[in-house]
Symmetry: C2
Subunit: 781 residues, 2 copies
């Protein structure tokens, strides 16, 4: 069996030549298909071997107890974990009484290809059974962007050199046996048999299975329908019981002849709809898919993606690996968000069970910036989901003794699911992250209805939270004490710079939005006094500064702490959290992920250029990047201060996170936020793009190694292309009205004609920037 | 049935008239007997009704898993919880076929008396069965101070007005059904059937049961032997199986006649000794007890206590309630520590399962000060136990990435059992608390062997810990960041004043002891450079001060935090930890228990008198006393600064903690440290006693309401009595060589003749001192 090291570098595809069983779980994540509603891991058609079986429906979760050695008031008692729902991918094959299984017989050839323009995963296998029969198996799979409830598989088997008896079993199967437990806290809690069967029926060509989750009481319906094209005498039998539904196809193929099965799948779930209603819902989806047919679904899929790429594509000359990676990244970001429709975008999308399928702050802070400028509707959807969870957030705030809304650190259904409050509940910045995502989306779309109906309730709820969370001290300064910033190697500190500056933006954005929508504000019982108190607090926010060192401490006192002893830390002691107690990490100067440096990006106006240089240099020496949420941010700041080599190295790290499995946990799902970060590093970093008040600003610059960078953006109804080379930058309006743009400080209007301006040369700052020993980013070899 | 409200005020006894079933669990704790090795809760002889069944052997524990919703590196995976071992107290009675049960029939009279000079618990019941037969039941119980493995019960039943058939069943019973679960985190984890039977044998008059704990593998042996005195024809039968061993006594009593049973119990346990060895061990203990007999045991008990009281008694004129309470307190402190013999003194002694039977810092900080000056041998024993756990503490330090020894926040066997590290592992001050207890004991006894063999290893291990825990900052100041001080409503702060000053004492004490014992220091690999580095760190310790407010912040930044809103807090929201998240408590100015104020006592030399006044006033307004470890400390400082009314109120609170069940959790065991605190409030507070460098210092003063306070102390082989009245103070040497003493700054020698000096009048400080709304201490009514 051929085992290839990684994926060949191709511009629009991710291809695996051969089949590496060692990395099977990783490739299942890389090859996962999703439309944001349904997610299918790239499991082999025949089910085994398997890294992690996975079929997900956005927001289908089960409760699980959260145990505590020592409990405390306000600790969540119940967690939520993603459920592996009914698997419809399964098509088993018996070849002359031998199961088709890549570990047996001889696998002459195996290939899987994820096509980023077609939106399909294809697979080809050329296999000789132990008995000597040879077949070619081909399958193609899609999860439809256009028909949200539908996935489809086209499966073919061909006899090669001798007549062969074939039995194909196409199944729906629920409660697949879970894999063995992992001890990594970032993996999911695994549930055994979470689904209780309610219906398993087959009529005409369709089979329907309906289950209900045991504790959360969610009804999950899955249905399948087949078009089978085989030789005369091909025999079909549909039936099932319990957790399995099965179409059995029996045939005999002469050499060169094929059996083709098109399997249409429909999924639905509901917390409230009845079993018959769910039955009809999936049957209706199947009927629509059947009317469209495989070819129609594939055509729609490509058309949807063509439209997406026309507003979102990023082209890179000089580094084909990053070219491939950034398209892979954008594809997965799109998959995660495209059709969530008021459901969340989890940290792993629907590609794996990592982090229990929870959504965190990275959605608003990393994923939505990309979607806002490439597929804005998805950003609106994700924020609308947050809006639906306001009641839970308000309950949580009340429980914590706070006003307004306290959004959960991690959740599926809106309730706080963090079982470790210093790095969960205390990380209040998530509330400002949501607010800033609202502000960003409204600026990018001028979506007034959204601002009024979704935005203002979110902004007001979070502003109220901040106002009650902080306090004005004896000097009239607004302090926010005892909270945790983005860096998870610190906790419960006073006046975290990122948190305070984000709270300031949050308070001001809420005040501005309330002023713009007075009627709606009144309905939210926002008074003029309250708005004034938000502005007062925002104006008085404390931003600590260390005069001695000339840098901003991440939080008050941070720069007085002992340095972590990086020189005594061996490579195998990373990530540090698996080798050091929190106690030691929290009290020392060591940074897991960009925190102050993230403030330099998101609240860049609060810092001078010189401060950015000094702050970046200071935190570079402390940042170990044990989180995937760091490299992209460091890349953006490195680009801004003129360290383009470093910006490039971090860009590559963010982009290659999953294709190269840099954190060794892609098995549990791809890192949607890191992938989104690759776009951020390119567009916000090298492109220097910032947006505010209806204006786009660019400070383009290119590192050695990238000769041309072109990207497309959606902004206020326009589609814009920016093409950067070492000499010049060209701005081209692809769609919409002329748009005011700033290029390296120069303002102009991009209209019908492209505008080309020189790309200035950037000088690197005159200071030494280095990383902790052994944590330097990989350079392109 | 008569239900009395509390306990009548008597100088040497705690008496319950009637039987209050509502407070049964509380009185079981109050009436618990122990010698520090064996503990018997005051359960009724017949076993039911019962608040909490309880029979304990010091250090017999079982492991239990510590679960975490989100685990982290270095979290203890296994906890330890006290085991309710074989119950030998049980004597059931059948009276003409009716079980003697206080809830049935008519209980004419019931009384229990704890005699603090006799060291016995007596009980008298006068009861008519539903059938009409009347009996008097009398029992007397002791846990021997002189025969460590032995407890004894003298049980009598008398027919009153008609002949009555009697069956008495005297039992050993293991694996008693646990009571229903409490949700209070201060209660214990309850184990079901922790004991596995290994032997249940009866031969001649003796029955032996040997069990083994399931996971911890400790072998527990219990044995009983009876002397039965009844009318002719009294029939005895001894036998048993499984978890029960039983002597059945059948007799018939004419009116006025009695059945008397003396039940001798022997207990032993071992992690290593064999079953036959354990069998022989308890049989030997029984043989000795039998040779002594009930009367002999009772005589020895009283003699032991006479000796104790002669060196420890405290007399109070003017407040008989406090008089009773302080003797009750001293009795329980003695019971907890008398015969531990290299076993720990748990927070509840052996009076109940509270806090899982764990030992905390309160032993060294509250209990040992009392034992050091009243029964010093017990203090040496407790510290010797710490010494035996050095290997576990060194392992823990290594696991945490620190040098030396990190003693556990809570444990039975020496391993860290805290499942919430911010209030457990991070509370490093326990290490200095141990060191200071060593320093205190050595000063009080001049026990050079102890200092060399027990003290120096403890001092050096903890000094090493501090040296690696702190760091010298850019200004050469020694900082200790990210730790938790005594106040459990704050956590993970920098430079906690108490912690830093205690670390300073620890480092200096270790350096001094190493200089005094160079050979032993060498064996511990303590070098001259290391000692120098301890002194360097001690001299450079940071003690933060708030210039604006003129007070010491409890930790760096504390006084900048928001004030807790006491005015919005209702009485039923205390203790706050059961009604507010830690998050909100940690970030605000609210203090659970004396922290900075404890530093004013233990490290008093580091503060000027004016600072003490201002600091005390500042923290009084923030301290809610949700811990029983606070009132006594506040009392001492209030006395020192001249607020004698307040000192008196806090003294009463500490003293009455369990008799009045002030925290509503005496059911789980008495608060040994609070009881010890009552002595501290009297002797250290009103007596103004401080000891250092072989000299005792007193600043006596009395509040209105106490007309005379007399106490006795052991110090460097002397026994000293101090008698304070409003006018004068008399120092009297009861035993030993003349001793240098300071009275309100005046030095003199106490020799053969008593010295009487005037008690100066104290003026209260000119500043307003108030407590949070509703948290003022109760005043004597």
């Amino acid at each position: 069996m051929i085992i290839s090291p990684a994926f060949p570098v191709e511009p629009w595809t991710v291809r695996e030549r051969g089949l590496n069983l060692e990395t099977l779980a990783q490739t299942e994540s890389v090859f996962a298909l999703s439309n944001g509603h349904i997610g299918l891991r790239g499991n082999l058609d025949e089910g085994e071997p398997c890294g992690l079986p996975g079929t997900y429906l956005n927001s289908v979760f089960e409760y699980r107890p959260l145990p505590y050695a020592e409990a405390g008031y306000g600790y969540p008692e119940s967690g939520q974990t993603v459920v592996n729902v009914t698997n419809g991918k399964l098509i088993r094959l018996l070849v002359d009484d031998e199961p088709f299984e890549v570990r047996y017989g001889t696998l002459h050839e195996h290939e899987r290809v994820l096509d980023l323009r077609a939106g399909t995963l294809t697979r080809r296998a050329h296999w000789t059974a132990p008995s000597g029969c040879t077949v070619r198996v081909t399958s193609e799979r899609l999860v439809s962007f256009t028909q949200r409830a539908v996935a489809a598989i086209r499966y073919e088997v061909e006899a090669v050199d001798a007549p062969v008896g074939i039995v194909a079993q196409s199944e729906l199967i629920a409660n697949e046996a879970p894999p063995e437990l992992s001890r990594d806290p970032r993996a999911a809690a695994v549930l055994e048999s979470p689904l209780v069967v309610e219906e398993n029926s087959a009529a005409q060509d369709c089979a329907v299975m309906i289950h209900r989750t045991r504790e959360s009481g969610l009804r999950v319906a899955a249905a399948m329908r087949h078009d089978v094209d085989g030789p005369d005498g091909t025999d079909l039998e549909l039936g099932g019981s319990g957790d399995v539904s099965r179409l059995t196809v029996v045939t005999r193929l002469r050499p060169g002849r094929r059996l083709r099965i098109v399997k249409l799948l429909a999924y639905g779930w509901s917390a409230s709809r009845s079993r018959p209603a769910m039955h009809d819902q999936v049957m209706a989806a199947l009927a629509a898919a059947h009317a469209t047919g495989w070819d129609g679904l594939a055509r729609e899929q490509r058309a949807f993606l063509d439209r997406f790429w026309s507003g979102a594509d990023v082209e890179i000359d000089g580094d084909p690996q990053v070219q491939q990676a950034v398209r892979f990244a954008l594809f997965h970001v799109l998959q995660a968000g495209a059709r969530t429709e008021r459901r969340p975008i989890p940290a792993k999308g629907l590609t794996g069970p990592g982090y229990d399928g929870h959504i965190f702050w990275d959605t608003e802070s990393f994923v939505l910036p990309v979607l806002t400028y490439t597929h804005p509707r998805a950003a609106a959807d994700a924020l609308s989901w947050r809006r639906t969870t306001l009641p839970q957030a308000e309950d949580r705030a009340a429980r914590l003794g706070l006003d307004g809304a306290a959004f959960p650190w991690r959740t599926i259904h809106g309730e706080e699911c963090s079982g470790y409050w210093p790095a969960g509940t205390a990380a209040f910045h998530i509330n400002a992250d949501i607010a800033v995502a609202v502000e960003r989306y409204v600026d990018a779309t001028e979506d007034v209805d959204f601002e009024r109906d979704v935005g203002l309730p979110l902004l007001a709820g979070t502003a109220r939270l901040w106002r009650s969370l902080g306090h004005l001290d004896a000097h009239g300064r607004f302090r926010i004490d005892g909270v945790t910033g983005p860096d998870e190697y610190s906790a419960l500190a006073d006046n975290n710079v990122y948190t305070n500056l984000m709270a300031q933006r949050n308070l001001r954005a809420a005040a501005d939005a309330a002023d713009r929508h007075p009627d709606r504000a009144r309905r939210l019982r926002v008074t003029g006094d309250e708005v004034a108190s938000w502005r007062e607090a925002a104006d008085a926010v404390v931003v600590p500064y260390d005069d001695r060192l000339g840098v901003h401490p991440q939080s008050e006192g941070f720069t007085r702490h002992a340095m972590f002893d990086f020189d005594a830390t061996e490579p195998d002691q990373y990530p540090l959290m698996l080798h050091y107690p929190y106690f030691q990490l929290y009290r020392k100067q060591v940074v897991k992920q960009a925190d102050l440096v993230l403030a330099l990006v998101v609240c860049g106006d609060a810092f001078t250029f010189d401060q950015k240089v000094r702050d970046f240099a200071y935190y570079e020496a402390l940042t170990v990047r044990d989180s995937s949420l760091s490299a992209a941010v460091q890349s953006v700041v490195a680009a801004e201060i003129g360290r383009l080599d470093l910006a490039y190295a971090y860009l590559r790290e963010a982009a290659l996170m999953d294709l190269d499995d840099l954190e060794k946990n892609t098995r549990d799902g791809v890192h949607i936020a890191s992938l989104a970060g690759a776009w951020m590093a390119l567009v916000t970093g090298l492109g220097g793009m910032r947006a505010a008040d209806g204006r786009l600003r660019f400070d383009p610059r290119l590192p050695d190694g990238i000769t041309r960078l072109a990207f497309r953006l959606c902004y206020r109804g326009r589609r814009l292309q920016v093409v950067i080379t070492g000499d010049s930058t060209t701005y081209r309006l692809l769609e919409g009205e002329p748009l005011p743009v700033t290029h390296h400080g120069e303002q102009f209007l991009v209209g019908d004609q492209p505008t080309t301006l020189p790309t200035p040369t950037v000088t690197a700052p005159d200071c030494r920037i280095r990383q902790p020993r052994g944590r330097e980013p990989r350079r392109r070899s």
